[in-house]
Symmetry: C2
Subunit: 101 residues, 2 copies
């Protein structure tokens, strides 16, 4: 899933889908690549569970499913205290300097 | 950077570094792979800015730098409302059902 969002084209597709469901052809439009290339990116998003495709005849509509991103949030939040600790130490240092004036 | 954390070995190395700085050889120990293979993973983490290597003679010590992960948090937080909206709709639906009893 992290591999799916590590590509800027795929992140742009997800971003497009935050505005609502869209046809694959519409999603492909802003990119300077073939529909086949965009479809490949879309399939990676589907496999990661981030996009769902509904078929009505020849029309394929994509919908965002952001839920798998919760895992990413859960994983990164374990590291949050490490950059916070760094900031805490910096703040303590600055406060001490301030007192020593 | 997302590519750097998309690999389970690299995530395990980062996890190891949350316990404090560690030598590359110690970091490599739990993995069933060559030191060269682990070093390659470490270099990817260094390039992503997630680990720093300090050399003292032949001893290479790694330190975690979690700060680049803030970008991941920032990016994913834009999607948070999409899974929350889904939950909100579900809650509203359940509340309505409860009232209709």
């Amino acid at each position: 899933m992290l591999a799916a969002i590590s590509d800027p084209t795929r992140r742009a597709i997800l971003d497009r889908l935050t505005h609502g469901p869209a046809r694959v052809t519409d999603v492909a439009e802003p990119f300077e690549m073939s529909l086949a290339a965009v479809s490949k990116h879309v399939r990676m998003l589907e496999r990661a569970g981030l996009a769902r495709r509904a078929r009505r005849g020849r029309e394929h509509t994509l919908t965002l499913d952001a839920r798998p991103l919760r895992q990413v949030v859960r994983w990164t939040s374990r590291y949050e205290r490490f950059w916070n600790e760094r900031l805490d130490r910096l703040e303590a240092f600055l406060a001490q300097k301030e007192q020593g004036k």
